[in-house]
Amino acid sequence: MSVLFIVLPLALIIAGVGVWACMASARRGQFDDLDTPPLRILTDDAE
């Protein structure tokens, strides 16, 4: 069970990467507009 001493911090580091990715996308404005993309997807194929 002493593997926990390695696995647990490792899991937290992976979680940290996820948080960092989320923050990076927030910083780059991925969450600025949540209303237009769902409309855009409706019309993508209407060429």
Binding site: F5, P9, F31, D32, D33, T36, T43
Partner: protein
Amino acid sequence: MTPASPRHTPPVTCTHCALPVPAGLVQHGADTQFCCNACATAYALIHSCGLDAYYRLRDSANISPSPAKTTGKKFTDFDDPTFTKLYTKPLAQYRTARLMLENLHCAACVWLIEKLPTILPGVIESRIDFRRGTVDLTWDPTATHLSRIAQALDSLGYPPHPSKDGQAQSLRTAEDRRFMQRLAIAGACAGNVMLLAFGLYAGAFDTMQHAFEQLFRWLSLIIGLISLLGPGMLFFRNAWAAIRTRTPHLDLPISIALFTGGVFGTINVVRGQGEIYFDALTVLVFLLLVGRFIQQRQQRWAVDAIELLFSLTPTSARRIKAGQSTEVPIASLIRGDLVEVLAGDSIPADGVVIAGSSHIDQSLLSGESRPVPIHQGDPVPAGAVNTSATLTVRVETTGENTRVGRLMKAIADAASRKPPLVRFADRISGIFVWAMLGLSAFTFVLWTILSDIPTALSHASALLIVTCPCALGLATPLVFTIAIGRAARHGVLIKGGDALQDLVNKDRKGRLFLDKTGTITHARMSVVSYHGPDYLKPLIAAAERHSNHPIAKALVAAFADSPEPDLERLVVHQVTGGGLEVTAFEINREPLHLRIGSPAFVGEGLHQPLQGADFDASLTPVLVSVNGEHAATIGLGDAIRADSADSIRTLRSQGWDVQILSGDDPAVVRSVGRTLGLPDHACHGGLAPEDKLAIVRASTLETTTIMVGDGVNDAAALSATTVGIAVAGGAEASLAAADMYLQRPSLSLLVDLTHAARRTIRTIHWCLCTSVFYNAIAGACAIAGVIHPIIAAFIMPVSSLTVLTIAYRRSTFPIRLPAATPAHAPVSTRRAPCDLASNHATVPLPA
């Protein structure tokens, strides 16, 4: 010839906007039909670029049709160096700008505008932000100009406007992004600490190796401190500000709980025994931030809508120099400049008419619904709308010194002097802080006597943490936000939830001031009385169809249902400032010579002078003569809305003291009041904006005062009231001052709003009761010293969940109303005229 009556054939609809095409404009045998030139232009542009898929998309979106609203402006001011510096930015070899658009309503609009690069070479990219109603454009300045792009957007029916405070907006965007990052950290921390906590709780039942327990506790401490010192700092900062300004704020009790929890949790981890509170604390931080985030997004949305409406006020004027008119930004006008004001445009500055005669709509300034005739030499105020013909105006005063500018300043002053609303949650949090501190002091003293000081400290801090006002912090904003969201779907924009509580009128002493024009009435000319033979009605409608004047529109609307006359030809000559001279050639009959217009105009064409001409003072008379004989008298006025009387009765039964404030003639106001069952002393007429402000201000000192009105003239009064409610169709500026905004100008919506306010406040009370119940149990356990970690772990999430369920499940706003307009669609207050009416039109009628 057998003229088919349009009643028996299906109406011809416009190819662009799908509205019926006026009979005179139907092109027989043509594939495409248009109701106005604007629609024809928009269609030509869309069709020529092969973007007809727009119509398919639009039809599937199922929205209410509206004709293309183009302004026909040249937008040359968009290429002005000042404009370029203010509103555009360089991006590599390109330039970018954010423009606000009118009339964005559906997915089809998004698609069409994002196809702009195929319509206009030189446009690199165009991205829509639907919620804000803005477009981000990137273009190649060597290939095209912003004015060209603006013209294209305009001819598609989306007039662009510069976004006036771009800086404030980018600040807000940055703040939103920061908040999103806070949420990400808080959420991840909460989730991970919860996982560790599950392990710890499970270990409490079974035997757990000491080393693992220590690992779990130390990791919880690290993650918990990240959450408290990162995203959680927001609460500490707010609490500190609240202490310094000595105002109660909900973040104060929250901070006390977070702080004591953090300190004792850390001590217990270091000591290696006792309860660590980090699971509860991190979840608390996350949930509270979620509540705060939803609330902020909702308010942001209202602010964005208001900003768009503000951008609709004119930004450019057509300055005449050396016989040439060019569009310039309004700020560059100086005294003595000559400006040209086209029909349908707003007058850019206070000035004097030096050429042309027309009518102006001054409802922004005076609330007067009737267009006023304007001739050479007359002064005209900024903000008034020129309704019928081109005017040349010499500028006298500009900007803040104009009458409308001074009025705006008064509004800003009134708004800043408005006493700050004591927030509902803050009022309660004041009580809460003292109760919390009192009880934990009691627990501390109790356990110092019963046991020792460390035990007493631990029990007292447990109490502080379990009784954290989570329900208040989360439920109150959530209930308000849900109510605001539901209200928006019904066409009511609410700036902040706090205003709702004042609509409850708990003590039944509230006073409700209603503006007459536009609120109780339609603010639109309509035919109130008609005395004359019926056969004239269709002739009048057919003739007036060629004029753009508000009176002509009212006549057409009133007589549109009458059967089509058997006409061969109709020759209409429009006499500016008077009326119409009409020659109607009916089949197999002598031609009829009609004069339709003001008593003076019709009177001068009569064989005998008018006799016994007494007209109702509250109505605008229009006479009709046939072959020199007075044949009909039509009275036009501002009709009362169908639902006004019922709504006012309901509001009075709710205990509101309903009164009318109006700038109109006192006699007219009294007669409207009588129709609605209001006593004469409740009807105030002939008031200037300043008088309204004084009345409202005096009333606010006595009791809860609500004002419902539209237009700039009400804005000062609206901002001085407890709750100001602006009504659609009014001026954009009233929104800056008002707390709420009704997109449908109907008083029944106001009645629904009062019901909704009651239900919202009741839901909040429910949430509070539930949370007090849970807190009482947890608090009692803590005082008794039996706060087992399992109890805390169970009670905290369950109490939050119950409260959330109540907040979501209880209906706060009536669902029965139809959603009349999409809530995000900007409301334009004036329609650009379709330039169909020429001064002399001969229209062949369908044979």
